[in-house]
Structures are given as C-alpha cells and as structure tokens.
Symmetry: C2
Subunit: 557 residues, 2 copies
C-alpha cells in the first residue's frame, strides 16, 4: 500500500524538489475556486458539508477514548458559536501515544513518508471548500482568501516542506564503500548514514491562518520522521481538524498508527499549550502567534523551535511613476483581511519634502491624503470592500483600533464602521490611518495588529530607510515595500533591509501586493530579525528536525 | 587579483562539493609528511623556522597598534615557556575593526570568498611543518599526530567547510523571472535572492587541537561573509596564529582588510573570552572545550552557537572474531595522545557472562586482562609508545588520573609513569584502567578527560547498549565503538545509538580507530546529544551563518 503511494506520488515530489531550486512560479493546487477546475457543485457541496458539521461532535479523528468533548469557536460573521466539539485528551495521553507512534513512523523511509503525506494533500484538496467555509467562519477571512490561503496555498506550502524534507534526507548516500590508499594496502570501510528524527513535534497554530501557518511545520516534522501533535488556537480548530483527519485516514489505510499525527485541543477551562511545550519528550516546536508567547517558546531549554511572531512592517515611499496606482496598491494591502496578516504593512514612511512623481514633487500632505482617499474609495466600493475586508477575528483587535486614536499625530482616517451587506452582525472594521512625525518613535515602535496604519513624516528617504531597518532589527519585520525610481536608492534599500533580514517588494502596483508570499519562490520569515525563524521553506526549516548519524565497519576481507 | 584566485581554485572547490555528496575518501592535502611529498628538507626547515620563532614577538599579523605583547604558552615536552609574544587588543578594538571589515567582506561574492580561502590553505600547506612543531610543543601531541591533525587533516576540514558554504550560498538562483498566469494576463516579477551574512563571528579554540577544532568554524564563518575573531586557548596560540597570518596575507594581497580575520589573545592577567562572546555585535560563536563554559556559550541570548563540548564515549563488546586484535585496537585508541581526544573511548562495557569469541565464550576477567595487557604491551614498546602517547597538555589531566584511583572498582592498570626517551622532562602518563560494576553509575557517568578508561561489567549486551545510550543522551557522546558478530545486535546498536545521535564504528581492528574522523566522509558532532552541535560539515554548520533575503519587483512592461 505505502509502496503504491510512492509510485503514485514520487514524480510530484521530484518535480516539487526541482521547483524549490528554480524558484519560478510553481503551484500544485489551483488557487481559483472555479467550477471548471474544482467541479460544478464543489462550492455548494462544501458549504453544505460545513453546515452539517455545526453543533455536533467532530467524529472524524481516529483518536480513541476522549476524556471530554470541547469547543469554543465562534464565527466573526455572525458572532455566534459554531457549536463543534472536539475530543479532548490529557497531555500525558497525547505524548505517550506520540512516543509509541514515533518508533513506527521513524522506520518508514523518507520517500514513503513523503508519498504518504502527498496523498494526504490530495485528500485535503477534495475538501478545500469545506476548509474554506470553516476558515471563513473562524478567522473572519473573506471567502476568496479563506479558499486560497487555507486550501491551495496552504497545500502548496505543505508540499514545499515535504519536498525540502525529502531532498535533505536523501542528499547524502545511504551507503558508501570508503577506500583509503595506505601505501602498502587499502583501508576499506563500509559506511552508512541515517537521518535520525529528533522526536515528538508540536505545532501551535494561530487564530487568523489556521492551516497556512500550521501545515508547513506539521509536514516538515512529519516528512523527517517525527510524530506531531497539532495544537490549534481554540478559536480556529475546524480548518486544521479536517486536515489532521485526512492525514490520519491515510496513515491507517497504510497500516500505520493514527497517533503519528494527533489533534490536541485546549480544554474549555484551561489551555494546555505550556504543558505540552514543556514536556521533556517534546523536542520540536513550531509556533505562530504573538511575541510574548513566542519568546517564551524560544526560551525553553532543550527544544528546537521555529517561530513566526509579529513585526513592524514598513513601506518606504521615495519616488514613484504613478502615485494614484501606488495609493491604490497600498490601500488594498492595508484593507486586505482588515490588516490581520503578518505581512500587512503598518508604517508608511514619506519624506516631509514630498515624493517625486516623474518630474514633479508631490507634497507630503497630498501623498497622505491620496492614501486615505484610496482606502476610502476601496472600502466604499460595494463590489470590493466586503470581499477584501472580511471580518475581525478577535474583539481585542477592534479595541486596539479604538486605542490607536491616542497616537500622537494627525487623524487621516478614523472611521472604522463598516456594514457587510451579507452578514448584518459581522464584526468589521476598515483601516484607520494616522499621520505621525518620525520623532514620535513611541507611537510606531511596536506592532499595532489589525487595520491600523501610520503615515510617518521623515526628514528624507535616508531617514525612512534607517527607521525601517531599526524597526526590523529591534522589533522584527516580515515584509517591506519600497517605492523608488532611483537605482542607487533601490540598492541602498536592498542592502540595509537585507542586513535586517527583511524581504523587500519594490514598486508594486496592479494585481500584486506586499502581503502576498508565493510557495516555492518567496522565502517566508528566514530568521534574520526578531519576527521569527520559521523560514518556509529553506533548508534550515527541515534539517534541524533530524540528526545525521554515521555508521562504519571494515569491509570483510 | 581576486578573480585570478577564482580561476585558480574554482575547480578544487567544485571537486570538494562533489566529494561532500559522494562521501568516499577525499583528501586535498596529503597526510604523510614524507620527503617525496613535501620536499626533502621540509621537516628540517619547518623545525628550524619553529625554533626561530621562540622567545620573540610574533610579528606576522597585520593588526596595527597593539596595546601590549603577551603570551603564556609552554611545551609539555620540556615544561618550559615558549616565550612567544602576541599582540594584544581590547575587545572594543577587535570588534570595531571586525565591524568595519564586515561591510567590505560581505560584498565579496561567495565564489571569490571561497577561492581566497582556498588560497590561504595553499599557503598554510607551505607551513605544515612549522605548524606541526608548534602544535607538538603546545598540545603535547606526538610528532605524527601534530603534523596530520594540525596540518593536512585540519586543512581538509577547512576545505570541507568552504565547499559546504559555497554550495549552500549558490544553491538557489541569484535571479529568476517569475511568471504567474492570471487568466487574462501574466503577472511577471523579477526576483533576486541574497545570502546575507549574520555578522561578526568568534571562534574559541581549545588547548589540545588548536587548528583542527578551530578552522572548520573559522572557514565556515568566513566563506559565508562573516568577519571572524579567532580566540585561541592561551596555552595553544602559535599553530593557529600561523594560519591567521596566512589568511591576512592573502586578504591584503587581494586589496581587502586584514581585520576580516583577526587573532585575539587573552591578556596575561585576564581572559577576554566572555567579554568577546557577550558583545552585542558578535552574532556567531564557535566553541570547543569543556561543558561548563560550553553551556554558558549556548545560553547567551541572541547568538548562533556551534559547540563541541565533552562526552562519555562508549565501547560495547558483545562478540568478536579475534579478541587479541580487538584488544590491540582498543589499546591503541586508549593510548593515542594519552586519551586527550574528544573521540577517545572511556567506558568499555563487557557482559559479566563473558564475550563470545567464535564458538567459545571468553570470561569477563580474561577480556579485562587482555585489554590491560594490550595497553601495557603497546606503551612498553619503545618503537610505539612515545610516538602514540605524546605528552600531557594540562597538569590538571595528570591530577585527574591520580584521582581516578578513587573509583569504586578493581585496579587493572594504575601505573601512569612513563619516560619519553627523547624528552626527559616531558609530562607524560599512560592509560589507567579500572573495572567497575554497572551498578556503580556515579563512577562512570561523567567525562574523565585524559588517559582514564573503565571496564564496566554489565548483565548482558542489552544492558551495555542501554547504558551507552543513556550516557550519550544525558552527558553527550562524540564516538562509540561496538564489537558484535550478530546482525540483529548490530542493528539494535545502530538504532539505539542513532537515537542518541552517536556515530558507531563496528568491529574495528587493524589500522583504523574509533578516535579517527575523516573529512568529507565522517560527520562530526551533529547535534543529536549534549556533546554539542558543531557538525563538521553538514549543511546545518554553514546555513545558520547567513540569512536568505528575497527582493522582487514587477518586470517593466
């Protein structure tokens, strides 16, 4: 059975390995939820299946003897509980089951593990629409983002981790006859090498991207032979529960233990994450979320950690060709999922002397106004606004938007109110925008998660670059956008932001945005600043999950 | 000039990269100090040059304005000071010079950095004999080991790090035109990626292998664009000072700053290592030495660390073909450099029921006696003893041998006395050997650095394996030897010691020893247990020294 899977999927894996190295466009899973791609009734069937899961126990997992059934999700579109209940297990049960499964899973060959995991992605593909609705009604993402981010884009990120893990484990020979000429004779040793997995991994999910941010670490640990325990955010369980269920089905069909990949949910009255993370048998931790908990995770002794925390993302505006197009592009980036992306821009640096547009210089005030107007235009466009903004996942985010009014600066956009025509009770908020002077560092030297952006008036572009770099080095950054028509300035930005470990998107206009990261091409959070080191997917993301161990013996004479 | 070096050395680098992946025998630098290889007078000239350096200032470094001239080396063969003085600089001076040089070095392309570094190894090769005598008279190694370990073997390890660093930095394209089909149009982005070095590296050397353990980290940091500060052990400076001097010459000849690679020595009245390691500008630390300081290094926040600490290395004896050959092989491993190798065996597990030899069973007592006799025979052989044992680097090691008598067990060999016929005043010590029961865990659950070994009486081989694994997991292990003629037992040992991240050499007899590690084939300290993670040279050893950063921009239409 597992050898059938290997035959079925090895070419996909090898194609994916090649794509890792060319870094051109590559997608295994189509991002477009069109009927001609996913089937005439795929959307409707997915929605119906999603609805059928509500207010019930989630019975698809193959984890025996739950101690309780728990769940606390609610949809930001209705502000109502989903009513889905998941099986609860104590940390000891989860860890001892994982430990037993470890000794089975580590003995499966890397190519077979990879193939089994690709099969699970093929099964996940069949449920992209269910996952989309589950994502929409836990995270508040709009429909299109829910489909793309939690479905095809997440699956591509997972495939990327599988491919990288497969490649790294097969990069050195399993066996080599080593022959050393010693003058009068030849010394001959049979040498073998094994990629030994580290042990139990846990993956701690976040509330905004429950599959996209979880599957890379999950599949990276699995492909390298480690059992995983997936601990989603208690408010966003269902999307990843569907993925775990599919992995378990493929494991069991292959004669393997479902405990190689377990779902762990928090009890309704207490969170289990710290107990899990601190368990001595847990060796690998993947984490997405806030800084405070992320720093705690990184500080745990004896663990190998991969974190994606938060950062202060910058936009540097120096000189542009078409200011309106720039404003529209940035308005979209600020509004997309109401700024609840780790890659969303926050600090927009504009020189006090204005921005060069072709041969003219547009004054600072006009640049700021154009930005605010572009946001207003976008969110008030009934064909765009609701589909871009989505809803606010966490009530605390809406609170943060109100508090932003205390920033020491000038109000550019303060009205957050927005009505979603399809969901009257949705928790929504449009971007707010304040103008702040570069001297008011306290106002902008921290992440303001959500639809909050600041236009920061700098002395000149050199100061813009210096502050953007300082923010990234001190507080982390996951993305940076820059607009300049000057080659020397562009090189300076690459050099300085490069030192701050921050990728830069230059002169984006039209249908491509600073927030977006493509699997197989854009590295994500590569560890160069305090925002984290999750690095989807460069070699570091997979090789730290196993140890090379060599064995040798003289060749029998 | 630097492009000439690239033309000169690129094929060597590419050959080395291939060797990394085949893992067969590969050596760029011949290990045999024969006149037909290194020249008729190479040995004599090297010795003369070494002698000419004594009792003088070491003037070869290109580091300006020293604050003092310091030095505290002494030869274990004479127990006399070398009298070599090195330029002393404050930590602030070292770090600010490195920081300035960083911005020059990081802009040199990986292939050019690699070529420049290979050139420095070619220059080092011209000085292998000087380095050998300097090593002999600081570490106490015998002549042959001094030559091989500090010369060709070290240079091969350095080349391995260069090759791995070059490969990893050129593994992804510098540029790619990314084209995403969007239905009605194609989105086109120019993407570029840069391997951005982390910053200043320091390399903290040890007193026993001053070049072999230093050059891998030194060259790994350099090839990935980081300036390095080499901080040798105050008792073993000269061998690596010669290497640093050669690197500086090549740098200056190439129009680059010598401060890209600096030597840092401790003041005579205080050590500077902690101040260096804690400096916020220092990002990378390579360390070889004891556990206590190694754990401190690993605990420093915000640093990327590579450590080689100590461990409890085990020998498991289950069943053998020829017990005498096994005893001779182990006697050599115990005696080599008087057990002052990180790979030297310490705990030898023998079942109380004896060892199967062919069809017979040899009782425990006879196995222990044969081991002791083999050691005695070897050290008393005037043609072998002095050339294998060398001298004792540190007086504390000799003290430790005396204290070993307090072990709760039976004395097998207690006389440590040995006279070196060529150096009457040498600090020497032959291996001592005690028999200990497996229940006396306190006696053997720690590293006893130096010529101290224990024959541990276990219930059976399963217990031997269990204890060897436990020692490795709790206290670290860098090597393990095992003797078994049973395939099932061999697989069990591989499986269990693999989980403890410990390489195993099986059934070694004749001219190959558990202590020995070959560059380009044997991974060394790969991070699977507390002995460290220095991992010469697997990908992890180089990729953590830089960050991938991507840049992208729409293709101009």
């Amino acid at each position: 059975m597992i050898s059938d899977l290997k035959n079925k999927h090895l070419s996909t894996i090898e194609t994916a390995v090649k794509a890792l190295h060319t870094r051109g466009f590559f997608a295994q899973y189509p991002e477009n939820p069109m009927p001609d791609i996913y089937g005439e009734n795929a959307d409707k069937e997915g929605r119906d299946k999603y609805k059928a899961m509500l207010n019930k126990n989630f019975e698809e997992l193959q984890q025996e003897n739950p101690e309780a059934w728990v769940g606390q999700e609610e949809t930001p579109y209705e502000q109502q509980p989903l009513g889905v209940k998941y099986p609860y297990f104590s940390v000891e049960t989860l860890v001892s089951r994982a430990d037993e499964a470890f000794h089975q899973w580590r003995k499966v060959k890397p190519a077979e593990r990879a193939a089994l995991l690709v099969e699970s992605l093929e099964r996940m593909k069949e449920r992209f629409f269910e996952i989309a609705y589950a994502t929409m009604h836990t995270t508040g993402q709009a429909y299109m983002m829910s489909f793309q981010a939690s479905g095809p884009h997440a699956a591509d990120r997972a495939l990327e981790a599988i491919a990288a893990g497969y490649e790294e484990q097969t990069r050195f020979p399993e066996h080599m006859e080593w022959e050393k000429p010693m003058g009068k004779y030849t010394l001959k040793l049979n040498k073998t090498w094994r990629a030994v997995p580290k042990g139990i991994g846990i993956v701690i999910g976040c509330s905004t991207f429950p599959t996209w941010n979880t599957v890379p670490g999950m599949y990276a640990s699995l492909v390298t032979g480690n059992p995983v325990i997936i601990k989603p955010h208690p408010k966003a369980v269902l999307p990843i529960a569907l993925v775990v269920a599919e992995v378990q089905k493929v494991l069991v069909e292959s004669g393997l233990s479902p405990y190689i990949c377990q779902l762990a949910v928090d009890a309704d009255d207490h969170l289990i994450t710290k107990e899990l993370a601190e368990h001595p048998k847990v060796k690998l931790i993947d984490y997405t979320g806030g800084n405070e908990f992320g720093n705690y995770v990184e500080s745990l002794p004896g663990k190998i950690t991969f974190t994606e925390k938060t950062g202060v993302n910058s936009i540097i505006i120096d000189s542009v060709q078409d200011l309106d197009k720039v404003a529209q592009n940035l308005a979209f980036s600020l509004s997309l999922y109401s700024g609840q992306m780790c890659t969303a821009p926050q600090n927009i640096y504009v020189p006090e002397g204005g921005v060069k547009v072709g041969d003219e210089v547009v004054p600072f005030e006009e640049v700021a106004r154009k930005l605010a107007d572009a946001v207003t235009g976008l969110v008030n466009n009934p064909k765009a606004g609701p589909h871009i903004l989505g809803a606010i996942q966490n009530p605390a985010t809406a609170e943060r938007v109100k508090e932003a009014a205390s920033v020491k600066g000038k109000e550019l956009l303060t009205t957050c109110d927005f009505s979603n025509p399809m969901f009257a009770n949705a928790r929504t908020c449009t971007p707010v925008l304040y103008e702040v002077d570069a001297t008011e560092k306290e106002s902008f030297s921290r992440e303001l998660f959500g639809p909050i952006a600041l236009v920061i008036k700098t002395k000149n572009t050199d100061q813009s670059i210096a502050i953007a770099k300082e923010m990234a080095m001190n507080y982390g950054a996951i993305s940076c956008g820059a607009y300049t028509t000057d080659e020397e300035t562009k090189e300076k930005i690459m050099d300085e932001m490069g030192l701050a470990g921050t990728p830069v998107s230059f002169n984006l206009t039209g249908g491509i945005y600073v927030n977006q990261n493509a699997a197989f091409s854009d590295f994500h959070v590569t560890g160069g600043n305090p925002a984290g080191n999750a690095s989807f997917t460069n070699p570091e993301f997979v090789i730290k999950r196993f140890t090379w161990v060599g064995f040798r013996e003289p060749v029998a004479s």
